[in-house]
Amino acid sequence: MSVPFVFALAGAALFVIAFYGVFMHAHLLRKIMALNFMGSGVFLVIGGLARRTSGVLADPVPQALVITGIVVAVAATAFLIVLMLQVQTVTGRPELPSSDQD
């Protein structure tokens, strides 16, 4: 198994593990972290597969996509953290209200 596929498979595994984490954790900060891990998994798959070119240089278009993705992920994380702090201000806990309340 060549190098690109090693990292692409690691990215796929990371995506699935983090997907589980987003759903199972109740604490919002953990959900945000798991979301970031999911993003990193996707970037690994894209960037890993970009290395499949023969030659010294890798395919630059997927790398540009990954850079864009990293920046968008940090923007989303920043906004989500502010929303999480607002949730805690309103409900008192950094967790979404569960369905067995009300």
């Binding site: 090693v6 990292f7 900060l29 972290m33 290395r51 990293i70 992920a73 702090l85």
Partner: protein, 96 residues
Amino acid sequence: MSTLIWWLDVTLAASLVTVAWQAMGSTDLFRAIALFVAFGLLMTLTWVRLDAIDVALAEAGIGAGFTGALLLAGLARLHRQDDRRRRETEQTEPGS
């Protein structure tokens, strides 16, 4: 020589998944965020191995560094808001 490099790559990929697992499974949030920053550093190494230097710079600066700083600031503010709320409820209900 190339099999040695291959094992390096496999170790790096396995470390990525392991650190992510540890970070998500950790009970202490501060430890989880510290592991997240470590994960970002491992990602930077991965990007260098994948010949994506620009992505490595972006991941180190924005992905590992800035997201880690945001998460830590968020955690600190969570605790501070929690302490403030606890102090306010104690003031409105003096004694027990």
